[in-house]
């Protein structure tokens, strides 16, 4: 295989048949190019989907109260369900094994003022654990902690946009900002890549909010993450239990779809990943079909070549070439063309992807690229393809009878 003479022969034949070599190589190179581009596109779509979700932990469940749509347990339908602080305690006690982080949410609009700058923003009053649930990235200062929660400290963590609007170039940490008439000390600034709206939020302890504005125990919603070791089945089973218990607690019919709403990220994620898995399979399938066309093309041309070289093969056999050596020659030639041209297609696709890939960043399609494993797989496929393409012609060549090959005088 690493015999210098064989390679010399192969280069010789390829050099003497430039057009043939080019056409053959092109079909395979093109096939690989398309295969890689297809896979990269699917990858881009996947990236797009994932980007939309990756701010939040993927094991998140949101529970929101709604309005009942069925009469149940002596209540008429159309009743508004209201969650309260003790719902949080109840869930925490009911599912000690299943829950990783748990937080209440209370959202409201607020007007904010610092010196002469004003603006209106969304306030989210939560528990400290919410930082982990929503993966809030605090770049300056800190998020509030359990002590802040217990003391009902009037502290706020503001988004980067809020900071820019109100404080301009001034350092915001430790300053007091007026929210709906009450003063809060800014103890942290957070950022959220790719989501400007999220950076217009202000976080504060739920206890502080409830005492400052209306002395209430009401909460708007509940967010939690479950044990990260759970697989999809376990996660769905858990959110089912959660829904049952919350419906029972708030006297909502088990059949009622709107009284209590439990929304599990895992479900959405499962839909997306099965969708992109299907897409992936289809693109691999299509790519393979194109590749097969290329392989058939090479095989075809190799058969033709053998026909053209029948006499030469006959001479070689008369001179003592063994069938094995003839097969080697043909197989190596086809493998060489396939691999080389496939690589060219691969490199082309790679260049195009690395030039335009990083510049594409839309919600549905972002940074199309191929992984190293794809490239390695493609290479192995190419070599196998080359061998396959050369196999029939090679056997044909080895079966050439020297007598037939030499008889055309």
């Amino acid at each position: 295989m690493f015999d210098r003479d064989i390679w010399q022969e192969i280069f010789h034949t390829l050099k003497n048949n430039k057009l043939r070599t080019f056409l053959t190589g092109f079909s395979v190179g093109w096939a690989i190019f398309i295969l890689v581009m297809l896979l990269a596109s699917v990858n881009g779509m996947q990236n797009g989907f994932t980007n939309q979700f990756n701010d939040d932990a993927t094991n998140t469940i949101f529970i929101r109260p709604g309005t009942t749509s069925k009469a149940y347990a002596g209540f008429e339908k159309g009743r508004r369900v209201q969650f309260k602080n003790d719902d949080i305690d109840y869930i925490r006690k009911s599912f000690p094994e299943d829950i990783e982080y748990l937080s209440a949410r209370y959202f409201n609009g607020t007007s904010a003022r610092y010196k002469s700058e004003t603006g209106s923003y969304r306030v989210q009053a939560v528990h400290p654990e919410f930082q982990m649930i929503e993966k809030i990235l605090v770049t300056n200062g800190r998020f509030f902690n359990d002590a802040d929660l217990t003391n009902k400290s009037k502290v706020a963590i503001i988004g980067r946009k809020v900071k820019e609007d109100l404080f301009k170039k001034e350092d915001a940490l430790g300053k007091f900002v007026e929210l709906n008439g009450s003063l809060f000390r800014v103890i942290g600034i957070f950022i959220d890549e790719g989501d400007d709206n999220a950076e217009r939020r202000i976080y504060m302890p739920i206890s502080t909010y409830q005492r400052t504005y209306g002395n209430t125990n009401d909460i708007s919603a509940i967010a939690l993450t479950y044990n990260p070791s759970y697989d999809l089945t376990k996660a769905l089973e858990f959110s089912g239990r959660l829904e049952d218990i919350m419906k029972r607690r708030h006297k909502v019919s088990p059949e009622d779809q709107s009284g209590v709403n439990v929304w599990n990220y895992a479900e959405a994620f499962d839909d997306i990943s099965s969708f992109s898995a299907v897409l992936n399979t289809i693109s691999i399938g299509v790519g393979f079909l194109i590749l097969i066309a290329g392989i058939v093309g090479i095989g075809n041309i190799m058969v033709f070549t053998i026909k053209e070289r029948t006499k030469e093969i006959g001479v070689r056999k008369a001179l003592g070439a063994m069938p094995k050596q003839i097969i080697n020659l043909v197989l190596l030639e086809s493998t060489f063309i396939t691999t080389l041209s496939g690589f060219i297609g691969l490199i082309f696709a790679w260049i195009i992807l690395s030039l335009i890939g990083p510049n594409i960043n839309t919600p549905a399609f972002s940074n199309p690229s191929v992984s190293l494993s794809t490239v390695v797989t493609a290479t192995i496929i190419l070599i196998v393809a080359g061998v396959l393409a050369g196999l029939i012609p090679a056997i044909k060549a080895a079966n050439v009878k020297p007598i037939v090959a030499l008889s055309d005088k």
Binding site: R4, D5, H12, T13, N16, K311, E312, G314, V315, R316, K317, A318, L319, G320, A321, M322, P323, K324, Q325, A398, K401, P402, I403, L406, K409
Partner: protein, 233 residues
Amino acid sequence: MIEIKDLHKSYKMGSNSLHVLKGINFTAEAGELVAIMGSSGSGKSTLLNILGMLDGADSGEYILDGVPIKDLTETKAAQYRNKFLGFIFQSFNLINYKSALENVALPLYYQKVGRKERQVKALSYLERVGLKEWATHLPSELSGGQKQRVAIARAMAAEPKVLLADEPTGALDSTTSYEVMDLIQKINDEGNTILVVTHEEDIAHMCKRIVHLKDGVIVEDKKIKQVRAEQYV
């Protein structure tokens, strides 16, 4: 050197078969220069093909240098051809994209002779046929006679027991034919066994023995006085 006993060969032509060789008995000693003559269809090429292991016989014995040649697989035939036989064809059958030197070196390559040694050997054989200066030329740059001399060098390179020449002068004009025959005679003088298939009387008479084939049997087998080709060159 060559021993053939009751050799039969027939070809299937559709429904009926054509009996080409009908019991050939023939022996050739080492160092002989034998012309096999006959009109077309007499079976002389078939005989040569069987001798050259390019084709198999239906029945009969064939012993080459003490080795019975039978039940050949492709691989075994290739090994025997490489070890025992050198071929010279009417149409030269040089590989057209290889230089004269590479053509001569080819059988050595199949004998797994190392690259350096191959080149040296091939060049010395080219020198013997007087074409050392043409070593790097492609066949297309050579005349007919030169091509046949390269082919002879190639047949010689593997140092075979027997040289088989199938109409070696068939594609050449008479002067060139004599040059080639002169070369063949000289090679024979060195003790090589050579079989020449020809239908030309003058070429046959440059051998030492003439075997006449007709309708698949040997009708005449006589030793002759060799005509030296040298005098016509």
